[in-house]
């Protein structure tokens, strides 16, 4: 089949260093991957095209790019599955949220800095055992998904928070943190929680699920971040807008069966947070004017006692 590759190019050393798209028409097999196409372009058509790849088997994590706007590994993306529009087009761009070095190659330094920031190594306490540190299989099972991470950067590429805030630790580093927080042999959770609870940590995730959707290895970073939130709160770190928001939300559903939208922002910011309370005033005035204010007296849903009973029964179950 004839495929039109629409590849985003950028060469900082060129005399005209501007990002642009370049088209390559290639005759490909039905079974070909996007990486097969890119390698053939480089070898047969245009030797100046830069890309990064190694194993071609979705193990090394080198070839993460954006295909038709969404991150993934070029080596496990079949062209036939992503052809779009007229003329059998596939658009390939470098991974997002990382600086472009050249064409499809991005600089991973900011990625590694964040992974390093979560101290991704085992920090056990006590005397070193004579052989290795042992852990029961059943305690390690929940880490099976997260150890599958190949650090390809697909989740970071498409993270919607990193797009607006380079300070956010991001899905890859946070999933890596969970790998050690959840390891029964690790003993530095208090220190880890402190970092995770800070600005740029677990509370800054928007739960948009983009990382879950694009991860080629089923790591589900966002689900790990949610588990970390719970662990951070259990450890007593509850003096954040995030923790207050989660608690206020759950309390509202428990007591009335549904969301009290008036109280939620006040409880999240904390009523004594004068600056935030003043910050809410313009919105309150705008909403009031537009008639977009939730009922002042928040009534419970009919039969709310059944909801409360479920809370009491299930709150202790996980």
């Amino acid at each position: 089949m004839e495929v039109k590759f629409n590849v985003r190019r950028y060469d900082p050393e060129s005399t005209n260093a501007v990002e642009h798209f370049q088209e390559y028409l290639m005759d490909m097999e039905d079974s070909s991957t996007v990486l097969d196409g890119l390698i053939r372009i480089r070898e047969e058509v245009d030797g100046t095209l830069s890309l990064r790849c190694s194993c071609r088997s979705a193990i090394c994590g080198s070839c993460a790019v954006r295909v038709n706007g969404e991150a993934g590994l070029a080596c496990n993306t079949k062209i036939i599955d992503v052809l779009s529009g007229e003329g059998n087009t596939v658009t390939v761009e470098p991974a997002g949220n990382l600086p472009v070095v050249k064409d499809l190659v991005v600089d991973f330094e900011p990625f590694w800095e964040k992974v390093k920031a979560v101290e991704p190594w085992l920090q056990p306490a006590g005397e070193e055992p004579k052989t290795e540190y042992l852990a029961p299989d059943e305690d390690m099972l929940h880490l099976a998904g997260v150890v599958s991470c190949i650090l390809c950067g697909a989740c970071v590429s498409d993270c919607t928070v990193m797009e607006v805030d380079s300070n956010f630790l991001g899905p890859a580093a946070l999933a890596k943190s969970y790998r050690f927080v959840g390891d029964p042999r690790d003993d530095s959770n208090q220190q880890r929680f402190k970092t995770l609870n800070e600005y740029g940590g677990v509370w800054d995730c928007t739960r948009c699920m983009k990382c879950v959707e694009v991860c080629p290895k089923g790591v589900a970073p966002m689900d790990r971040i949610m588990s970390l939130r719970e662990k951070v709160m259990e450890a007593g770190y509850t003096n954040t807008n995030g923790a207050r928001h989660a608690n206020a939300f759950v309390d509202s559903v428990k007591h009335s069966g549904w969301l009290d939208e008036l109280k939620l922002p006040i409880k999240s910011f904390g009523i004594f947070n004068i600056k935030a309370m003043i910050g809410l005033i313009p919105l309150a005035i705008r909403s009031q004017r537009a008639g977009k204010v939730p009922p002042i007296f928040h009534k419970s849903i009919p039969g709310v006692e059944n909801v409360r009973r479920i809370f009491e029964k299930v709150e202790t179950k996980k």
Binding site: V161, V164, D165, T206, V212, R286, A290, I301, R309
Partner: protein, 296 residues
Amino acid sequence: MKYAFYPGCVSRGACPELYSATVEVCGILGIELDEDALKGASCTGAGVLQEKNQRLGDTLNARTFAMAEQSGNPLMTICSTCQGVMSQANERLLADPEYMASINEDLSEEGLEYKGTADPKHLLWIIAEDLGIDFLESKLVKKLDGVKLAPFYGCYIVRPSKALGFEENPGRKQALEEIIETVGGEVVDFPGKTLCCGFPILTINPENSVNMVANHTIDAKDRGADAMVTPCPLCHLNLDGYQPNAASARKREIDLPIIHLPQLLGLALGIEPEKMRLNKHIISTKKLLSELAISP
């Protein structure tokens, strides 16, 4: 066609216009809303409650599903977030009969049992799949010719695609664009249409949240959009309510009305804007309505 109507918290709270527009539009399209079946249903948990205790969230949603089953009608949502949270809960319940049985045990005291037949569906999908685009077209009284509309889905109605049944229903990926085109609008495509509006971190990291609002509304505006259309009231709240903050953060005018999906349908079905509270938005819809030659 009759549905057990699940309005969600927001259409009964800060977005009353969504509730009125839905009722008006469904009336014309022959979608009969059973507003009593789920009167006692709780909030879905919106993913927030699930952070703390997923089982608790699944139990509350199984309870809602059981109530819908009892009514004998399929469940209709009007919020991307409700839809996504319900679809994910349903996927977990259906995948594990033991889990479902133990959750049903907790529901039994109330005389409820979820049998597994609820198929929660957003109004967007109901129109595209159950009613059909041809039917919608046959009901239109005013084509909104020439109006440029940017779609904005909301995360939970596009991800995770597996739980949302995208494989079985590939049309769900483009349903909003299809409806925009059917009512005569021109789709303004932009990469932000399936990204986060920033609402979930509104009280946690307001600066990031406002930056998301700014990026999406400015991008759509600069690509020529007259308005943005969303099936998610949470996206609406942030993109509409915080647009003035986004404009002042970027020191420019944005002025992009954020229209709920039923409001868009209503305009093409000839419903008076006031009945759908189009005059009750933070970002005024006046200019949009006058371009469409509709008196507000």
